[in-house]
């Protein structure tokens, strides 16, 4: 039955696109939402049936190129399918409202909707197919369709530039994956994923590590691990808000899916892999949030936060791998379950934040937070939803971000009982990293929320704000409620998480029950405690209301320490809020500062600008590109605009193509002749 569901799932997507020429723009919008909804229902049904009835497995015969095409939907695939479904559904819904502003661009919207459906269909298919070649084809469809969705505003130069950057980096990612799949194909003659397991368990551990590294680099580009993260901060601001939300929420998570899948398949020395992943993840997390703080573009700030959260997920995965290597069940459960849960949690709060950022953009027409301020009075719904997202992303109770971080902390502190010095040091540095990430995230989101929504407007231009329409907020409310439910009742997800983590347990080992019941007990305590926290705050607030409502209170301007003029210009800005941090972390950051000095008795206007840069991007992308360009510039004489010359190049090329095999043949003959001497 699942087989026909999957086929219907793919068919309906293609059919919907075929319907587009016969519809008007509005109809296309609704058909997109309708199709996504139907597809979500179908694939959620399949995923739930996997969780209740066990793994779904069937095989297509395929062709002589691909070999058999197995479709295996295990708990891991099902979990990711559900995460994708939720975010794509809310994203499509939100997108329908968001795109109303652009309803004149008929053709552009049609292309966007087509790409959106293709993107969703292909990304779900990635979770299903377990054949290397098919996966690569589907991956390519996903990369191209997400490229098209990103460059919706392609008339802007920066958007196009960011899109092309994304396209190139996606293909570097595909290159790594292709090499890895070819490696296995050449050695075993099969594209089937099971061949990876067979191959690596027969070979020495170093082969497995090498193969894993190829897969890891490929998937890490998609997920945004440092130093492969450079496309994220460019692509997110360029894309429309619902695409940024989906991209940050789930598309980059497909990289995490890939890494988790490969860890299931590749049999090798898990200890080294664990240390490797842990180290790169701590760096990713700290680096991501360190750069997030200094960003002034709201979407760029959120993009760097995605990198940070990928780091947190990575810490969980690394911990799980170390658990596999050192045979510790509690580490396996805490690590992998923490990573999986954080994947879900991040998809929720990050999409919420991006959707809010989208509404902020539509009201203010800018993403520069230095020009904002006091928005919560004009758009209160967006403001309070953004606050919920901010609290959740900082990992503060009673929201969901805390639960997954708590999982990972539990694992890290439990692992300290080990006797291995190196392991203990790795754990304590991971704890240190996670704590610093948490503290920096707090700075970052107090800045973002405080500067954007609180105080008074920093922009000299006075804007008029239309009222918020309540129905535009429906998908956002659903996300916010889910965030709170996971924060308060984390236990409801525990059975599913335990099922997935059991996949990682070595077959011979029988899971020890007490360890898990203890973790579940902790989760229940966390939930009750959070509930108590909300209840206590509500109680105290009502006491406060009861006591103070009858007392005299007056409204006055903000206390300016004696200054009675307009204080709006004297407010703290985003740059000044993070100034002491910037001084402290200056050596890790790269900030271009342009500053003009005041001079003379009556100085004219002076201004100061800071542009945060990215050191890794500078070293890894910009400098090599600059060198390559300098080298290639030596051959610029070839491009002389002379049509005769170009025809000559064509002839030379064709001549070479024909001559090369002949020459090689001659050389071979000559070589044989020499050998016979």
């Amino acid at each position: 039955m699942e087989k026909s569901f999957i086929e219907f799932f793919n068919l309906i997507g293609v059919l919907a696109i075929a319907l587009f020429p016969f519809l008007k723009t509005k109809g296309r919008g609704f058909i997109t939402l309708g199709v996504i909804t139907v597809q979500v229902i179908i694939s959620s049904f399949v995923a739930f049936s996997v969780f209740t009835n066990g793994v779904v497995l069937f095989t297509y015969p395929g062709s002589f190129v691909t070999g058999q095409i197995p479709v295996r939907i295990d708990y891991l695939s099902a979990w990711f399918m559900l995460i994708l479904n939720f975010t794509f559904l809310t994203g499509a819904w939100y997108g329908l409202h968001y795109m109303k502003k652009y309803k004149d661009q008929t053709d552009n919207l049609a292309l966007h909707a087509t790409a959106f459906i293709l993107l969703y269909t292909s990304i779900i298919d990635i979770c299903l197919f377990q054949n290397g070649l098919v996966l690569l084809v589907v991956w390519e469809i996903m990369a191209l369709s997400s490229f098209i969705t990103i460059i919706f505003e392609h008339q802007k130069k920066e958007t196009l530039k960011a899109g092309i950057n994304f396209l190139i980096q996606s293909h570097v990612c595909i290159l790594f994956l292709t090499i890895a799949f070819m490696w296995v194909k050449v050695k075993t003659g099969s594209f089937d994923f099971t061949a990876i397991t067979e191959y690596t368990s027969a070979e020495p551990a170093i082969t497995g590590i090498g193969l894993f590294l190829f897969f890891f680099f490929g998937f890490a580009i998609k997920a945004g691990f440092v130093p492969f993260h450079t496309w994220l901060p460019l692509a997110h601001p360029a894309a429309p808000a619902h695409i940024s939300g989906i991209m940050s929420g789930v598309i980059i998570k497909i990289g995490i899916y890939g890494i988790l899948r490969m860890l299931l398949l590749i049999k090798t020395d898990m200890v080294s892999l664990g240390y490797f992943i842990l180290a790169i993840s701590v760096i990713t997390g700290v680096y991501g949030v360190m750069l997030a703080i200094v960003q002034h573009n709201l979407k760029k700030l959120l993009a760097y936060h995605s990198i940070e959260n990928i780091g947190i997920i990575g810490i969980g995965i690394g911990l799980g791998c170390l658990g596999l290597g050192y045979d510790s069940q509690i580490l396996i459960v805490c690590g992998f379950a923490g990573a999986l849960l954080h994947t879900l949690n991040h998809s929720l709060f990050k999409s919420l934040l991006f959707y809010c950022a989208g509404y902020v953009y539509q009201k203010t027409h800018t993403m520069d937070i230095e020009k904002m301020g006091g928005l919560i009075k004009h758009i209160p719904r967006t403001g309070y939803l953004f606050l919920i997202g901010s609290l959740a992303i900082c990992g503060l109770p009673p929201f969901n971000g805390f639960v997954s971080e708590f999982f990972i902390y539990t694992g890290l502190f439990n692992g300290l009982q080990s006797n291995d010095f190196l392991f203990i040091m790795a754990l304590i540095f991971s704890i240190l990293g996670l704590v610093i990430i948490g503290g920096l995230a707090l700075i970052c989101f107090t800045k973002a929320f405080g500067i954007i929504f609180l105080g008074t407007s920093r922009d000299s231009e006075k804007r008029s704000f239309s009222k918020e329409k309540p129905r535009k907020f429906f998908p956002l409310y659903i996300i916010a409620i889910t965030i709170l439910i996971i924060g308060l009742f984390p236990v409801i997800l525990a059975p599913a998480l335990l099922k997935i983590t059991h996949l990682y347990m070595p077959v011979a080992v029988i899971p020890v029950a007490p360890a898990f019941t203890e973790i579940l007990g902790n989760l229940t305590s966390v939930g009750w405690y959070s509930l108590g926290f909300i209840a206590l705050t509500a109680l105290l607030y009502s006491i406060r209301h009861f006591l103070t409502s009858r007392r005299a209170h007056t409204l006055e301007p903000t206390w300016g320490c004696g200054y009675t003029g307009d204080t709006a210009k004297m407010q703290y800005t985003a740059s000044s809020f993070i100034r002491s941090y910037r001084k402290l972390a200056g050596s890790f950051l790269m900030i271009d500062k342009e500053k003009s000095e005041a001079s003379g008795l009556y100085p004219s206007y002076i201004n100061q600008e800071t542009h945060p840069g990215d050191r890794v991007e500078n070293w890894l992308i910009d400098k090599p590109l600059h060198l390559i360009r300098r080298f290639l510039n030596r051959f610029v004489f070839l491009q002389n605009g002379n049509i005769q010359a170009y025809i000559l190049y064509g002839f030379i090329f064709i001549g070479l193509v024909i001559m090369v095999p002949v020459i090689i043949e001659k050389i071979a003959v000559f070589y044989n002749f020499l050998n016979q001497l």
Binding site: I376, L416, T446, Y541
Partner: protein, 301 residues
């Protein structure tokens, strides 16, 4: 439950003892030890002045702040008596719940749109970020040393091993005293009695709070001191019976308050720019404690 009541009790006299110590040190008679509490009660009965710029967040924040500290106090044990709620990894929750309160108080400062309060908010956010690692590494060392991962189990098994645990406790006390000073923005990081807004951290954040809200915020600061005092007392109480541990608790709180008073009387405030370096010392000291625990357990290399 007993620890909750004890901490509430300590919070009533703590700041009074600090103020009294300071006045004696400067050769004055000084107010009675319940004067700060009386001031707070007076504030709680007053009306308020709100800034026109503020929103609901400004009214919600003081309540969320005190509620976060109260929830954190619920987890602090008293020797052999667990706190109101206790589970593995509860100290992680402890730190994060306190961070929630901090988040709210920081954004409430930004809510006023004042140039001074933003300054305080910025410093508060930075310094609390710098303090966190020390707390976590310290708890990590105790988790390593005792093999347990919750406040109650750590403190109740701390002294079963050798007397070295008292040495670790003494070092940890040093770290915790300084953490409490930084978290409450007292000397040597911040001077609460200064009258220059440019040099304040916590006080400048609450410039616009008045009446009930200001009283709540000030009382929260007392509660926080008493809470850290309770944790410090736990380093020494161990499994002692109640009739010894309760007086010991009070003695520790009293000693802590006197220490705070003495530090504030005889130390000058650091330059703002030097504070981060000072706070980093805490992390390195707690790293030392961690290595000490490793050495004691024979796990060091």
């Amino acid at each position: 439950m007993i620890s909750f009541l004890l901490i509430l009790l300590a919070s009533f006299f703590f700041m009074g003892v600090v103020v009294r110590t300071k006045s004696i040190a400067s050769g004055r008679k000084g107010p009675g030890i319940f004067q700060p509490m009386k001031d707070i009660l007076r504030l709680l009965r007053k009306g308020s002045v709100y800034s026109k710029t503020t929103t609901l967040i400004f009214k919600l924040a003081p309540v969320a702040y005190i509620s976060s500290v109260l929830m954190a106090i619920l987890m602090v044990p008293h020797g052999n008596n667990p706190g109101f709620i206790s589970f593995d990894g509860d100290f992680v929750m402890f730190a994060y719940v306190l961070a929630f309160g901090k988040f709210m108080i920081i954004i409430s400062a930004l809510d006023t749109g004042s140039s001074f309060e933003g300054m305080g908010a910025s410093r508060e956010a930075l310094y609390s970020m710098l303090v966190e690692p020390a707390f976590f590494i310290l708890m990590g060392s105790f988790a390593l040393y005792t093999g347990r991962t919750s406040f109650f189990t750590i403190f109740s098994t701390l002294h079963y091993g050798s007397y070295i645990s008292y040495m670790l406790g003494a070092l940890a006390t040093f770290v915790f005293v300084l953490i409490a000073m930084i978290e409450n923005s007292r000397m040597p990081v911040d001077d609460p009695k200064t009258h220059l807004e440019l040099t304040m951290i916590h006080e400048v954040m609450v410039l616009d709070n008045s009446g009930f809200d200001l009283g709540v915020i000030q009382y929260t600061s007392h509660l926080k001191f008493a809470m850290y005092g309770a944790i410090i007392s736990n380093f020494f109480i161990g499994v002692l019976p109640l009739w010894i541990s309760v007086p010991l608790f009070l003695v520790v709180q009293f000693g802590f308050a006197v220490t705070v008073g003495v530090i504030e009387s005889f130390m000058a405030r650091f330059r703002m720019g030097h504070n981060p370096q000072f706070i980093f010392i805490l992390t390195s000291v707690s790293m030392l404690i961690f290595f000490g625990a490793l050495l004691v357990l024979g796990k060091f290399l």
